[in-house]
């Protein structure tokens, strides 16, 4: 019982620390620096503490402190409760969804069975969908409660876009579910031990469609019509300042991590290295004793998982800095006329092949 407690607390702390402590601040810096490198610039590099500029990493610290000391503004006529609650509503689902994503397999440590997922839910995927659908309210309420027309339009756009892409996303994932026959993310992970059983080989079309839908659900660059600067000032967070505004952003950044986690788990073999099964890994580390071997294997698996996640974060950032924004009707057309039929075709073909 105590061991279970310690295990789950350690896992929660790890994921929470990884998300809030590492990814949320560092992604702000990464986005800045990556865009700079991609555009042949140098990027933020002048903030220094005692003469040290850790290639501009202190700029995100400066941003954080500045944002904390910025005036917190609530416009007149705004609904204060919802105006304050909206950033939290959009931030919390982004953190919570990570608790069903496995970041490692199953190991036996000192006679104790360790499963590297915070909550091994039977309906893991549906849980993610449920909470990502709750994230809509953050945008909608933020837009409505600001008492501002730009915000309202942004909120309406956000809700319409997120609703329609949720439908499409649900359909794109069904192909994967048919292949692996489970909603449990750990089971899906275990089944991808064989390199040629990875989701990307089973469902290449599903992968492309899912990534598109996920980016659209996250409201990032090619699909950032809810916050289009050229049309509606800053969309649903026009009236937000200081910390609340940054909370929307943090939610966005954490959702990038979550999307990368899901894509890694469903399509890129979760925590497995290609061509190396768990058994091989364990036997490879046999020199360290049985406990040491499983600890080493665990570390290798966690590292593999997070390297894959970081790769997909990088990929999403590249997409964000490469593609221009869609028009609103194009976003809707892409969803209902392209992705939805294609995902239905994908389901049909998968059914033909696998359920003969």
């Amino acid at each position: 019982m105590l061991a279970d407690m310690i295990e789950s607390i350690a896992k929660i702390l790890f994921i929470f620390g990884m998300n809030i402590g590492f990814f949320a601040p560092v992604l702000g810096w990464v986005e800045r620096k990556q865009s700079a490198v991609m555009q042949d610039r140098i990027g933020a590099n002048r903030a220094d503490i005692f003469g040290f500029t850790v290639i501009g990493l202190f700029h995100s610290i400066a941003d954080a402190i500045k944002v904390l000391t910025k005036e917190d503004f609530i416009p007149t006529g705004a609904n204060k409760f919802f105006h304050t609650a909206a950033p939290f509503i959009s931030l919390v689902p982004a953190i919570v969804t990570f608790c069903v994503i496995p970041f490692g397999g199953r190991y036996t440590l000192f006679g104790h069975d360790v499963n590297l997922v915070i909550s091994d839910l039977d309906v893991g995927l549906l849980f993610i969908f449920a909470f990502s659908s709750l994230a809509t309210y953050g945008a909608v309420l933020g837009g409505w409660s600001s008492n501002n027309n730009w915000s309202l339009i942004g909120g309406l756009r956000a809700s319409a876009q997120m609703l329609s892409y949720e439908v499409a996303m649900g359909l794109t994932i069904i192909g994967v579910l048919m292949v692996y026959g489970s909603l449990k993310l750990t089971e899906i992970g275990v089944m991808q031990e064989n390199f040629f059983r990875w989701g990307i080989f089973m469902q290449p079309l599903g992968f492309v469609l899912f990534l598109t839908c996920a980016i659209a659900e996250n409201k990032r660059a090619p699909f950032d019509v809810p916050e289009a600067e050229s049309e509606i000032v800053a969309g649903y967070f026009t009236e937000y300042s200081g910390m609340k505004f940054v909370m929307f952003w943090m939610g966005e950044f954490l959702e990038i991590v979550t999307i990368s986690g899901i894509v890694t788990t469903l399509f890129f073999g979760a925590w497995h290295l290609p061509f190396i099964t768990d058994q091989m890994l364990l036997s490879f580390f046999q020199f360290a004793g049985s406990n040491g071997a499983s600890i080493l294997a665990m570390l290798v698996n966690i590292a593999t998982f997070f390297i894959k996640v970081i790769f997909f974060i990088w990929m999403q950032m590249t997409i964000r800095w490469t593609l221009p924004r869609f028009r609103y009707d194009q976003v809707m057309k892409l969803c209902w006329k392209m992705i939805l039929p294609l995902s239905l075709i994908n389901i049909f073909i998968t059914g033909l092949v696998f359920l003969r």
């Binding site: 490198v37 042949d40 140098i42 492309v208 590249t318 997409i319 490469t322």
Partner: protein, 207 residues
Amino acid sequence: MNKMTDIDQKKCHPMVGVPIEKLRPKQVRKNLELTLWESLYIFEIIRGMYITTRHFVLNMIGFVFKPKGQKRRIFTVYYPEEKVTIPAAYRGRPVLVTWKNGKEKCVACGLCEKICPANAIMIVAEERDGSDRYPSAYTLDMSRCVYCGYCEEVCPKEAIVMSAEYQGLAERDRSKMIYSKEQLLRSEESVKDRIEYIRRIYSKCSY
């Protein structure tokens, strides 16, 4: 027009300064209907991402293994530490040129004051030893000056020229931007390039 541009005795396109042999008409697709390949989007997106990724990777390699002696790919000017050299044709802030003995060349004729479109110049003329005219006060309002170069062009004595200076012009106080004569004086040596340039360029184009 051509007289102005073939300074280097090279045949250049009058507009862009590119040798004519290198100029090729660029084909522009006028029809906006997408081909089937383009309307699939995905391959075009991959092509775009290839370009950005190539830039990213090459620049990252350039960061890690710094090329020695070569021109670096990232051409950002690290301004306060690094400065670009400015050609003589650049019109920086106007300065008053002095003779070798430190006296200003200006004879306070008032032409620059008249022609200045922003009314930035104000001259108070006086006579030295009963014959030499000189400006006892020459104020230049830098908060109004638009760097047009009319004053330089109209000056009969080459007394006011556009130098290559551009630093230290930003101020926290607007009243500090009104420059007096003492702040404007520069030796002839420091603006030699510009004086040569204006001699060449204004002798070619006679208005």
